[in-house]
Every structure is written in structure tokens, then in C-alpha cells.
Symmetry: C2
Amino acid sequence: MNSLQFTAESSSNGMRERDFTVGGVPGVLWSPASGTAGRAPLVLMGHGGGADKKHRAMVGRAHRLVTGCGFHAAVIDAPGHGDRPRSAQDEQEIAELRRAQTAGEPERPIIVRYNARLAELAVPEYRATLDALQELPEIGAEGPVGYVGIAMGTAIGVPLVAAEPRITAAVFGMMWHDALLEAAKRITVPVEFTMQWDNERVSRESSLALYDAFASREKSLHANTGRHVGMPMFEVDSSVRFFARHLLGRAGTSPA
Amino acid sequence: MNSLQFTAESSSNGMRERDFTVGGVPGVLWSPASGTAGRAPLVLMGHGGGADKKHRAMVGRAHRLVTGCGFHAAVIDAPGHGDRPRSAQDEQEIAELRRAQTAGEPERPIIVRYNARLAELAVPEYRATLDALQELPEIGAEGPVGYVGIAMGTAIGVPLVAAEPRITAAVFGMMWHDALLEAAKRITVPVEFTMQWDNERVSRESSLALYDAFASREKSLHANTGRHVGMPMFEVDSSVRFFARHLLGRAGTSPA
């Protein structure tokens, strides 16, 4: 077992923030500052490519989950991201990606391959992190667990959720379907899927194909006008409501 | 001018309900039972085919808009629906539709043609109704106006919103794009568009084509698993938030 070690702690804005490591992988756990009466659901998060565990998108999502629902939210640095060293292979993939982008060549095959390799490393890291976090009395091994990750967070999250039965609801979006189709077909938990209708990086067809592949009885597609970086803030609020419906067991669906 | 005549009034569940006619067309106006301090936005609604102004879907939407946001909500019977007589042509179209459905033949061309004819009649009726409702001191001519209509309510609503500059936000969904494409291309106001991913009546491709056609800078597509009759209740709540954002001028979008 890789045990959890807390390395720093602070509090602000209604959130308690604890940096941790599990098996050498650095992460952060956000919890209600006031403490909770009992156990509360955990939402695992995955950051985007080139970002890290404390990117403002992570802090912002965590804040809504923690202060809006009383949840715990946790994220770890992906391999080669944040406080983790880049391998020679990471450097090589990133150089190739930059070269393709500069030359105006398709980035899709590079991103798909690079993200698939990161996911292979990250999935067992997330599962070990979940093992360790569930040892905490305020989370526990019985509570519901969600996952949210956009772009690279989806490249890691789809195989993670396919492999991890403890995760019972997931929010994805904005990643090519190429390497994810088979894992998506094994996912049956509720999914909320976000896409940008005019995404200049991930094609509309690829996004619709990935959404279509999930075997979930309940899945929602949210498409909004705009480019890759431009997802409306109300989608973050929507994902929080999604987790409230599924992790708190609130009634939410019935025929209109 | 067709003036508004109130024909009945009651109150329940936090809503004041007033039946009215405008130029012989019967409608209903729901408003906050407590009255409002000043003027409040109006949401026009369009009912589905075979339904009428007091269908539970209309009452349910009105209740959320009125008690959740303090809005007024109004709907009129479509031609040949509710308290309005069916013409010989209505009877003929409906008989043909039933025949096709029984024979397992495509209903699409019949529904598209029938709904397009109803829309031609209904659009001026909605505009006259809006003229008359805006004479009421609690609504007024300056306030923002929304429109929500699914299925036949979309067949009428798309040409209505394209023609009517007073409507500044609209919720649509679940209607073939065939007769609506040109009108949709003239719509620039914010749109929320609902579809059922496994709709056995309106094809996925047709729904996506209609969503794609709106010229709106801000438009959101919400797709959910399930068949034509099975839209999740949380989409009704979503449409209420959509109107709150756009008719109350609340901040709602910024890069995530």
C-alpha cells in the first residue's frame, strides 16, 4: 500500500487545502473548512495538458464542489506535469507537438499518442490515490466517488472510470475519441459530456463519436458555441449539479 | 388592435392563473400570486402537437418560471388544438398522420407539412398576443421576452423568434429541421436546444442540423439518452436557469 502523506495545509475561502503525496505522486485535497458532520463524497479531478493540480480551473471546480455541496475534491499532477519531472520521452513528445503546431501540421496523432501513454501511467496512480484517500475517516471506503476531467483529464479519466468500479459518476469532454472508444464502451455510470461546437482543436465528429460510445443509461451532452478554450462557466456549475444529483442521491430525472 | 379579454381567474400553488382571449384565440397567463413589485419578464410558451395550453408540461414549466424567477408565462392554443375547432384540413392531416403511423410509414413529411401550416397561422397570433400582453402594466412594452417550445412548439417558435425582435432568448428542441432551416439561420438571440439522443421520431442528424443552423453567438445543445417522450426533468430546470441568465441579465458566461 502506498500511504498518504500530508505535506502542507492551509485554509481560505471556505476550503481547507491539504497537499499530499501518495507513492511519490503529489496531489491536493480540498475539503470544507468547517469540517463535515460525517463522511462526504469525493470527486477526483484530472487537470488539462500543460496545466497542473493547482491550475485555477482545478481550484475553481474544487471551490464549487466543496462549498456548494460539502464534497471533498482531489487532484494529482499527471506524469511530467506540475511538480513532477519530465522524462526524456515527455520532452520528445512535447517538442514534436510544438513543432507540429508551429508548422501548422495536425496535432491530433501526437496528442492522442502522448495522452494515451500518460493515461497508462496515471490510471494506477489515481487508483492508488483513491485507496489512500478512502483511508481518511472523513472520506471512507463506502462513500460515492465522482470524476471530472476535461481534455487531457478526459484522456486519463475515460480509462480510469472504465477500470475503477468505485467511481459512479463522471464528467468528460474535449478529447479525440481515437484512443478512448473501447474504454468508453465499458462505461455504464452516468456521464455528463461537454464539447465546444466550434472547437478548432478537437473535431465535432470526434466529440460526438466519443459521447455516443458511452454505454451509460444516463448521459448528457452539452455543446456550446465557441472555441476550445472558451467553455462557459455555467458548464462548471452544471457539472456540480450533476454530481449533487448522482453522489447525493437527489431525485433529478423523471419524464417531462 | 386585438385587445386582451380575461375570461377566468384562479390562484393556486403560488401562481395566479388568468385565462384570456386575444382576437378569439384562447390563452392563459400565469403570474406570481403575490404580485410583483414592478414589471417582470414574460416567457411565451408553445405546447406540443395534440396537447393544449393547460397541458401539464405547460403548467409545470410556468410554475418553475413564475415561482422560481418571478416571471410571467403565457401560452395560447395552437390552431386546431385545445379549445379551438379543427378545420377540415386539420382533420385531414391528422387522419393521414394516424394512417401513416398505423401503417408504419414515415410520419416526417406529414408532420413537417402540418406543423409548417400551423406555424403560418400561429406566428401572427403569438405576435398579437404579445402586443396585448405588453399592454398590461405588470408586463409592459420594454421588458425582456423569452420563448420556450418543444416539438410542435419549436415548429411554431423558430419562425416566431426569427420574425419577432422583442423575443431575446429561446428554448427549442425535438422537431425536424426541414421546414425550419432558413428561419433558424436568421435567429441570433441566445438559444438552448434540447434533443433526445435516441429519439425514435426525430432523427439525431436532423436535430444536430437544426441546432447547427442557428446564427446565435450563444447557443447550447443539451442531448440526453432516451426516446422522444422522456426528456429529463432537469432540462426544464436548465431552461429556467437559461431564462434567468438572459432575461434578468445575470452574469453567466466567461472563460472557464
